[in-house]
Symmetry: C3
Subunit: 344 residues, 3 copies
């Protein structure tokens, strides 16, 4: 289903150079795009690649001389590209109804506008709002709430008492509300401390595949609205994740830690327990936050330090061999003979 | 369902100051507790917070002057708190019976006192003991054993031959008995080595959500009794995990490594293959054990070294810039001119 | 079902010393093997262990003097062992048929030679080839292709459009084709960029338990033939993994990165986005690749550097305390008094 170029230019409020009646079938990267495709050119080196592109049309910040196809000029081509992608691929909508094989408890409430897939299970006291989709094999425990237009992919699991706001996406295999990891030593071995809190997730949150969010020991583990959590991330009991925070794949947040609004954890980063990471702070990939982080700060390293300091430390480390040599030279110059043997 | 304060004091063997007939409905943190709640006060700064708390009653090590509510004096308020939590939230008990939708092989044996949930699958030759709960969508392969009073949460998977002792908890999405990661080069590509061992798990073990424990190539991957394993942990083929060991979230243990009794791996820690980590050793968060670790030792870093050495190294690293400056000054003082250009 | 020793010697083209009619029931490690078992002896110290072994027979590179049982002499005992294991434990074969509880869309095509287990779901437009096995609870979305003789273990999930070549193994809980992690800032919060590409997996690939492979934003996330991916690995959108690459447990590869043929990522290693890791390169455990890596290079560290340099840096770090002392001594020798206070 092709879209007219004039229509696309209208979506993004862009200025069209070329034939508005030309049809665009899809979006592709500059280097792969063909006559029926739209691509975008932005950033260093993009102009050369744009000129060589076989794309039918381009989204650009300024007209590219020598490009054969049509062009749509917009302030931010990358953002416009995201917008076109969204128009051409609107989110899946619920096909209302409960699959014959689903097991919905008599004391659960599923809105007639919700879609419940094969083998889905919904426990007593749970409420599934209009427009929500429970894909195949989704398990919703007891006393849960799933907001309007949520999309729970296959095999997602909600333990009892989990609440999810409107418009959330939960990917396959994600587990929300599993027990926090709490024990006390009794007789020389760890003994489970009951985990009786729950998980609350704000609206428009996305949770990645096979990610785990534990329930609180008491009270709540809370994920703020618009937070985006990637695959295989661990969020421990009693954690608070701020509005619009971004947790990349395999990041982990230990118990009772609070991440402020807009915090970014890059891939495989970790934060130890009972820490506070201020709003807008950014933690580099593979780093480990072991102290509180100020709002807006960029940190890196294990343990994490301010990013400029980390870069300086890395630069210093690369010079260690040079220093060793210089130190040795100074010692020789001073005629010093070390009693404890060779200097290196 | 409220409990009388006198009854609670009895559970923990504490001395009650206040009205024994007062009802307690739940437990909450000091700062959030209200008149119907019990909280505990322990550690630095707790006394001030206790005095300001609106909790109906406190568990304390010594009476807090000026606190308005009741108090229960015990030797270890934190432990007593765990105990009260356990009394007020006893573990879920099996509701005996097999759900109509479950698929239990004719050659499997499910005790009449076990609970088997919707869409659960139990393979030929497997035995499910009394009191065990297989939640919705649990898959138990062939020739498995699930001990008494085990709780397997939704979507847990046991490959063929997996054995689990009594009283274990396996969280949603955990996979026990998947193939070990073993290949041999044939014709320039890796070729699978069949993994024909199995997994054995002692009693009272807890396995976190989406955690994976691989079967042995030959023989057994063994998790000792009372071990507690958090979410998203990887335990590779032929590993042995000791009794009461604690593996925090996203930790990983490579093939054939042996963790002694009571070993603690903090979050995102790793141990390479064929290592021995002695009983009671503790590995810091984000560390990587690449050599054997002595019993009782605390290690940290990548590669992991004894924790005091790691801390010393970190302190030294922070002084690198200072040393560079001092080295430069010494060189200047000695009138040295370096042939190879500026010193930094 | 025992095998005659002469038959086993024939499988591996070995020279048999001993009774060819003796029966071998299984394979075991040297130290655990008994009279009915075959073991292998290779590497340093193996000869002593071989002599003491109670195994019925050994695979060896040269005859072991003083060993009581039979021996099969081969060029590479370890490889021969893998081969015997493979002969004695051939891969599971499909038992053709679709389980009565499975939900197969009318517009899907399941070959009569495929096996579809209980509660499996196959979406419209998907094709399941002959010999393929979909174990219990496997979910195959729409427009997927599952090649001949694939084995999808319980709870594996394929999102719409995922294609898997012949002979692949996908372990329990693995998720293929989940959305890539892409957002653009709109109104101060991240807004989802539709992820409309897909995942393509070559033949003979193995994917570990609870591993996640995201679909491309546009185009394809591609896993090359014979690649082997362990448990809990993250492969992000638009990544390319080369033929025969090995990704160990908990490794992660960020968006658009290309791993060449035969690349090895050790456990918990990570590669940041838009990197190129050349063919045959090897990344050490827990390392983080932040720059491109040349073909054939071994790298280690955070950020990863060539492995010899990393080892040199580690050695230098261990000497920091010594240097600090030497620097102090030089300063004293020069009668220098530092204005800014004690030197350490």
């Amino acid at each position: 289903m092709a879209h007219r170029l004039a229509e696309i230019a209208g979506w993004v409020g862009g200025r069209l150079l070329g034939d508005g009646e030309a049809g665009i079938e899809g979006l592709r990267p500059l280097g792969e795009a063909g006559p029926g495709d739209l691509a975008f050119a932005a950033g260093a080196g993009a102009e050369g690649a744009a000129r060589a592109s076989r794309a039918g049309a381009l989204l650009v910040a300024a007209p590219v001389e020598g490009f054969a196809g049509a062009q749509i000029v917009v302030a931010d081509p990358r953002a416009a590209y995201g917008e076109v992608l969204e128009r051409m691929h609107p989110p899946r909508r619920a096909v209302p109804g409960v699959h014959a094989t689903a097991v919905v408890d008599a004391a659960a409430s599923v809105d007639p506008g919700a879609e419940v897939g094969p083998f889905a299970v919904v426990g007593a006291g749970s409420r599934i709002a209009a427009g929500a989709i429970l894909d195949a094999h989704v398990v919703v425990g007891r006393a849960c709430e799933v907001g309007e237009d949520c999309l729970l992919h296959a095999h997602a699991v909600l333990y009892d008492g989990t609440r999810i706001g409107a418009g959330c996406i939960v990917h396959a295999g994600a587990v929300l509300g599993s027990d926090g990891f709490g024990y006390r030593p009794v007789g020389g071995v760890p003994r489970k401390i009951p985990q009786v809190g729950h998980v609350e997730i704000g609206e428009q949150v996305e949770i990645g595949a096979n990610t785990t969010v534990d329930r609180a020991t008491l009270g709540v583990t809370a994920i703020g609205a618009h937070a985006k959590i990637d695959n295989l991330v661990q969020v421990a009991h009693n954690v608070t994740v701020g509005r619009g925070a971004i947790l990349c794949a395999q990041a982990g947040v230990a118990g009772s830690t609070r991440l402020g609004d807009g915090v970014v954890l890059a891939g495989q980063a970790g934060v130890t327990d009972h820490r506070v990471v201020g709003a807008g702070a950014r933690v580099s990939a593979k780093s480990a936050v072991m102290k509180d982080v100020e709002p807006g700060q960029d940190v890196a390293g294990i343990p994490a330090v301010p990013a400029p300091l980390w870069r300086r430390q890395q630069a210093l480390l690369r010079r260690l061999a040079d220093w060793a040599a210089r130190l040795r030279r100074l010692e020789r110059q001073l005629g010093r003979e070390r009693e404890e043997g060779p200097s290196d």
